[in-house]
Symmetry: C2
Subunit: 259 residues, 2 copies
């Protein structure tokens, strides 16, 4: 179940033949986070994303009611994700494999870059990615870093953490700086307390991972930020992918590199 | 009248002591294009800018009614530009030095990157900029390149042209690629006909410049694009800076470099 082309993976998912996580399904193709909001929230969310490009790197914004992304021409945002979460008034309401029946003409879909792309780049540069080695979810933490508010949306930034060997930290900054569309350079290197993380062994989301001797915790802005910020404003309806169950685009990872 | 700090230049302009072009007033500070539209057009314009980052590189989007940019903390968008143009229903209505009296609570201000920043980088890399040498306005052309439409906004891309010595073309691509927030890498190198420009000696805006032997015309997306696209949709009111009379921000040119 890997080395599929993007359109093959989307079809498999659309036909109900794959309902698991998408990690590793399509090597080299960009996978994306999904946030769907009614049009009345779309301006504030678009502005929030512009003002917070590191946690909210937009890849595509679909016109209201349109389920076909520009970055996945044969795709359908309503069927091509293995698992969706439906939130009502800020609370998880249901988890489904298809949102065709609840689709509304005023739904605006936002696709946001996810860290899979830059993790591949780290690995290709010989930089270890601990949670992949340990077969866990990446540890994520709510920080004391304020996002820049926009309309109804505001809140603290969520970050993901990867322990990096001291002598590879500079290379890790360089490698991820090339990919601003998938969170880009780290937001913090070193002491977790400086960004309001009290216990590195107790992530707010995901799993704890080992930090070895001579390794430094390095923190990147995380795509959970826009979801948590949007939910805290309690929109009457909001739909996202389920964690790890991403939308697979036609973009190749290297196409997102700035240089 | 150069080497001023950004806030000094803004005060000079605000006090009515400078009404000319801002080029060269504040070396090293980013200057910006201004587009003001009523809130009802703001979502479409923000989406258009996201979908067309090369011609419309957003630096700041102000909340409706707020005249103080984040990137110029003591600044005031209503007074700190030497000359404004007011358009009504898509037609130039007036040119003024202050818009305090016509300011509306629903005005959303967009600041967009301008080419001054990347021209400075070209010069510092020993790459000549012809229209500066000839003391002219940069030549600009309407191309056959479609922008990606968003809501009421759509139209062709406007480009600026700089003749570059053949052996410096690659360096020019590298240098400007570092600055995606001010149009970034070129959109076309060489034959003007390929992008719908019939007569390179007759620009649609600005002045013609000499193309010497062994020089190649290189084309960059131009900030005139969002203005021309917005005007063609005939908003009941729209305010911009007058050409060359820019808003001076607190950002330093190098802060916009991606690497």
């Amino acid at each position: 179940m890997n080395n599929l082309l993007a359109f093959e993976a989307r079809k498999l998912i659309r036909d109900g033949k794959w309902q698991g996580p998408t990690c590793g399904m399509t090597l080299g193709f960009v996978q994306a986070n999904l946030v769907i909001l009614p049009k009345k929230y779309a301006y504030d969310f678009l502005l929030f994303s512009f003002r917070n490009p590191k946690p909210c790197p937009l890849l595509d914004v679909l016109d209201a009611g349109n389920p076909v992304p520009k970055i996945a021409k044969d795709g359908d945002i309503r069927t091509d994700i293995p698992k969706y979460r439906i939130y009502k008034n800020g609370t998880l309401f249901d988890e489904v494999t298809d949102i065709k029946e609840i689709w509304q003409d005023d739904f605006v879909s936002f696709l946001l870059g996810c860290s899979f792309t830059f993790e591949k780049a780290l690995l290709e540069n010989g930089i270890p990615v601990r949670h992949i080695e340990e077969n866990k979810n990446v540890p994520m933490y709510i920080t004391n870093i304020d996002t820049v508010p926009a309309g109804v949306f505001s809140g603290k930034m969520v970050v993901s953490m990867r322990p990096i060997p001291e002598k590879l930290v500079i290379r890790a900054v360089q490698v991820t700086s090339r990919f601003p569309a998938v969170h880009g350079a780290p937001v913090h290197i070193g002491d977790p307390v400086k960004i309001g993380i009290k216990n590195i062994e107790k992530p707010d989301f995901g799993d704890p991972v080992e930090i070895k001797e001579n390794e430094v915790p390095v923190f990147w802005a995380c795509g959970v930020t826009p979801q948590s910020v949007a939910l805290s404003s309690k929109p009457d309806i909001m739909i996202t992918h389920s964690p790890g169950h991403m939308f697979i685009t036609d973009l190749k990872d290297e196409e997102l590199a700035v240089l």
